[in-house]
Amino acid sequence: MIWSWERALEALPLLLEGFRITLLATVLGTLIAAGLGLVIAVLKRALPTPLRQIVHWATEFVRMTPLVVQLLFVYYLLTEVSPLVIGVAVIGIHYATYMAESYRAGIESVPKGQWEAATALSLPASRTWRAVVLPQALRATIPSLGNYAVAMFKDTPFLFAISVVELVTSAQQFGARNFAYTEAFTLAGLIFLLASYPTSVLIRRLEKRLAHY
């Protein structure tokens, strides 16, 4: 018999424990990415050209190189820091460069007249951003941020590279110990599917609702 329900049941608590770390990494990573992404997007508009170029190339570099290699890089560089902290930070920064692009598109979708009106009212720059531009920009941006959060969730297995015991690492460990890879990896896949599919459906709905205003 290839599949053993007994071993599957035995693996489940361990996998769920790993899943807790997966969720934790996703939530913290999303918070970092959403915050830092906004800062990058605003900086890219507000900074003088040479500095803007530096920010541009730095984010391109992060976007265009593999997350796993970045994880290993920081992991070997900062040997004293806990792998989970490194994982969350690197994943957060990686996705911040993606979310910055979403924010940029959102900011560009704010009509020019809104900027002009803010200038006409001689609002200071900080208030223009906070009270006029961002509330309108965010509406268009939120579904896209949600999509990246789901993508990030599906990238958390890469934390396996730096030995964070998330869902896939627990599955691998359980599989190696009991020679029960079939049960461990199949369940891991199902848990991902059960969590990510409903979320994608919700985001699609949110997208439709926010589009009609």
Binding site: L67, G189, F192, S200
Partner: protein
């Protein structure tokens, strides 16, 4: 620094090997993913409910489970089921299925956004299904889908870096080796990340060329030759590059 560069020089043949493995995976995976994407994309627009439903389930399945889980499943579980594949085949297969599922959505969306009149015209001309898709609809959808496919291709290139977990000596693997040889993390990974960055940019450039050609063949935008011409004649800007 000088010692590092000396080690790098001795190490360079292995890095080249790593780049070749990474490129092999990227191109193999991309080719496979394209086939999967077109097949699933077309199937999910089929009039047969069973075919359409199956395609949707397959797409959601491979999108919803993570790349690494799929890779590990193919690598660890398939042999238990009696199927033995080379690690390279496993890598290409996992990349093709995962990114193919994402690509299927791109293909479906692009075909759906080809102008309705074009569909109606093919009906009016009494074209067969395959003929219509091959000559009229797909070439137009192709121009629409290239930017999204270019993004996916970069994602795929980055995704290849996980294959070192299934014993393949790709670029990532050799970067870790270079780190051990030099004892300098910063140096080894800067070199490694730069190589990945250059590869990604070259792929992006290639996709830009494809996009220009696809648009030009539809009579939108300049041809490659017009872009490369050192001094562009005035009329090219007015004419918009129609052949």
């Amino acid at each position: 620094m000088r010692e590092n560069l000396a080690v790098l020089w001795d190490f360079s043949p292995r890095l080249v090997d790593g780049v070749l493995v990474t490129l092999q995976l990227t191109l193999g995976g991309a080719l496979g993913a394209f086939v999967v994407a077109v097949a699933l994309g077309l199937a999910s627009r089929s009039e047969a409910a069973l075919l359409r439903g199956t395609a949707r389930v397959v797409v959601e399945f491979f999108r919803g489970t993570s790349l690494l889980v799929q890779l590990f499943w193919l690598f660890f579980v398939l042999p238990l089921l009696g199927v033995r594949l080379e690690p390279m085949t496993v890598g290409v297969l996992a990349l093709a299925l995962n990114y193919g599922a994402y690509g299927a959505e791109v293909v479906r969306g692009s075909i759906a956004s080809v102008d309705r009149g074009q569909w109606e015209a093919t009906h009016a001309l009494g074209m067969s299904g395959i003929h219509r898709m091959r000559r009229i609809i797909f070439p137009q959808a192709w121009a629409l889908m290239i930017p999204s496919l270019a993004n996916l291709l970069i994602q795929l290139l980055k995704g290849t870096a996980v294959v070192s977990f299934i014993t393949l000596s790709d670029l990532n693997f050799h970067v870790v080796q270079l780190r051990q040889a030099t004892g300098d993390t910063l140096f080894a990974f800067t070199v490694g990340l730069l190589i990945y960055f250059v590869l990604a940019y070259l792929l992006n450039l290639g996709m830009n060329v494809l996009e220009i050609r696809a648009k030009n063949s539809l009579g939108r935008g300049p041809s490659m030759r017009e872009i490369w011409r050192p001094t562009r004649p005035e009329s090219a800007e007015v004419g918009g590059g129609t052949p």
